[in-house]
């Protein structure tokens, strides 16, 4: 589904964030992207989101070169991806419901369908009872789960998460990771960037390890993993 083919990313000023990175992530797979901070995890995710473009090499998404998307194509590319941020990027000027409904509002889903899907997503993360509240009133863990609900509400093919457990205690972190695992088990491809190695080991899934912009290990799928059931 995602192919990095010898990808390098150099930022203006000469900093090399990624150096000749090649790996492949198959449809339905779940993998962790690990490495120290500054190893290039965020840059890699930004390349998949088309927030940045590679300086060298190609990033392919379903066989399409992301460098050729063009300004018009980028929003439609992003609609196929769900993203979870460390700072959850919720909007505090609207209710939990409206936050989660944002991707559906963007694609112009009809109101009853929107309500149904938002409630399903909120139910999945266990926060259906919060739908009318403002996210500012929720705890960090709850906010993160709202962010996850927003990321999956439009049924994306791919779920990306950038340090989703960065600010959470171990128990909550495990809960969040289990959520991702559950989404993967219904067929969503998941890539989670994290430095929480212990949690990763516990789940025993594929690791793509970056070190100073280079791929240290995990370039190929250990097993051709299909959707878990």
């Amino acid at each position: 589904m995602i192919v990095f083919d010898n990808v390098s990313k150099r930022y203006p000023g000469g900093h090399d964030a990624l150096k000749q990175v090649s790996f492949e992530l198959s449809r339905g797979e779940m993998a962790f992207l690990t490495g120290h901070s500054g190893a290039g995890k965020s840059t890699l995710l930004k390349l998949i989101m088309a927030m940045e473009h590679s300086s060298q090499g190609q990033v392919l998404y379903d066989g399409k070169n992301l460098a050729r998307l063009g300004r018009q194509g980028i929003p439609y590319h992003r609609r196929r991806i769900g993203v979870v941020f460390q700072n959850h990027s919720l909007l505090f000027d609207r209710s939990v419901f409206d936050n989660v409904a944002l991707p559906l509002a963007i694609s112009g889903a009809d109101p009853s369908e929107t309500a149904r899907r938002v409630r399903a997503a909120l139910d999945k993360v266990g926060l259906l009872h919060r739908e009318t509240q403002n996210p500012v009133a929720l705890s960090g863990g709850e906010q993160q789960r709202i962010g996850i609900a927003r990321a999956v509400v439009h049924k994306p093919d791919l779920l990306l998460a950038d340090e989703p457990t960065g600010n959470l205690d171990p128990e909550l972190s495990a809960e969040i990771m289990n959520l991702f695992h559950e989404f993967n088990s219904v067929g969503v491809t998941v890539l989670v960037a994290t430095h929480d190695i212990s949690l990763v080991r516990e789940l025993g899934l594929r690791q793509i390890v970056l070190s100073e912009g280079r791929l240290a290990s995990g370039s190929a799928s250990p097993v051709a993993e299909g959707p878990r059931s």
Binding site: R71, R78, R79, I81, S89, L91, G108, R150
Partner: protein
């Protein structure tokens, strides 16, 4: 290969215009329009000030234009009475005046004559100027006999001949002066066209001002919503989706400003209608004051909305592109 790509684009375009897309499109616009109005209401001070500025900037040229229209209207009526007033010396007997008027009546250059006695003159003066009480202070009527002469069409169309006629009348015995009110007429005429031009000039400048003010307001809105815009772009919002509420905000500012401008014009019209009416009567003109018509209301709202949209567009084009998720 090329052909296949072409066909594909065509198909996509067709799909974009299906009825379902239209419904979605209309629903989105309705929702966005309503929510941007709700957002304006959430910031009453900012909204109120912006709307006031737009209203004043629209009302000013409108009032000037109305004034010019009023002047032109009055002028067309005055123009019909391009009489020569022949003022006799004080104390001239009425028989002499009548006799003279009769003689002038036979002149081919003169269409008609009308004798106005000092008493009639006094009545007219009182009626039109409202200054009758001043004259009441005089023991005798200070006004002379006047013969009002309507020149023939032929003469009226030839300024040189008209001038000769006035000079001849002026030179007659016992005549104090013969006056054709053309100078005054010309002056008024050029004043009206000046105000007319001025209102367009002022209108143009103020329209530019509205564009800048609304552009700046929308720029501030964009700054305030930077975070929201970034999130929307991250979850796949198109430029159009981000732009839409901002354009609607501009539209509402302009539309509300236009309606408020109509209100201002109506209020100012009410305030000046009485004295203006009196002024017009004193010029023997009965021009109806322009009412605040639906046409004007519609026009102001329309131009306001148009300027609002344009201002928002300018701002959006300048500032929105730079906001990208980092």
């Amino acid at each position: 290969m090329n052909r296949r790509v072409k066909n594909k684009t065509k198909f996509v375009r067709l799909a974009e215009f299906s009825p379902l897309r239209l419904v979605v499109w209309a629903r989105n616009h309705f929702k966005v329009g309503r929510s941007s109005l709700v957002r304006l209401r959430a910031e009453p001070l900012q909204t109120g000030l912006t709307v006031c500025v737009v209203a004043i900037a629209l009302a000013l040229p409108t009032l000037l234009l109305q004034l010019a229209g009023l002047g032109a209207n009055a002028l067309s009526q005055i123009g019909e009475t391009s009489d020569i007033n022949v003022y006799f010396d004080l104390g001239v007997q009425s028989e002499i005046v009548e006799e003279r008027a009769q003689a002038w009546q036979n002149d081919s250059r003169i269409a008609s004559t009308e004798v106005i006695s000092p008493n009639q003159g006094l009545d007219e003066f009182e009626q039109f100027s409202g200054l009758g009480s001043i004259l009441a202070g005089f023991e005798e009527n200070p006004l002379p006999y006047v013969v009002r002469i309507q020149p023939s069409e032929q003469v009226l169309s030839r300024p040189a001949e008209l001038q000769l006629l006035v000079q001849a009348l002026d030179a007659e015995e016992r005549v104090d002066s013969a006056i054709l009110d053309l100078v005054w007429l010309n002056r008024l005429n050029s004043m009206v066209s000046f105000v007319d031009r001025l209102s367009y000039g002022v209108g143009f400048l103020l329209a530019l001002g509205i564009l800048l003010i609304l552009g700046n307001t929308i720029r501030l809105t964009i700054e305030n919503r930077r975070e929201e815009i970034v999130v929307i772009k991250l979850v796949g919002g198109t430029d159009r989706f981000v732009r839409r509420p901002l354009i609607y905000a501009g539209l509402w500012y302009g539309l509300l400003g236009g309606l408020a401008a109509a209100l201002l014009v109506a209020i100012v019209g009410l305030l000046i209608s009485m004295p203006l009416q009196r002024l017009l009567v004193s010029y023997q003109s009965s021009v109806a004051l322009p009412d605040l018509s639906f046409a004007l209301l519609f026009k102001l709202a329309f131009y306001g909305a148009l300027l609002g949209c344009a201002g928002a567009w300018i701002s959006v084009l300048q500032h929105l592109r730079n906001i990208e998720p980092q």
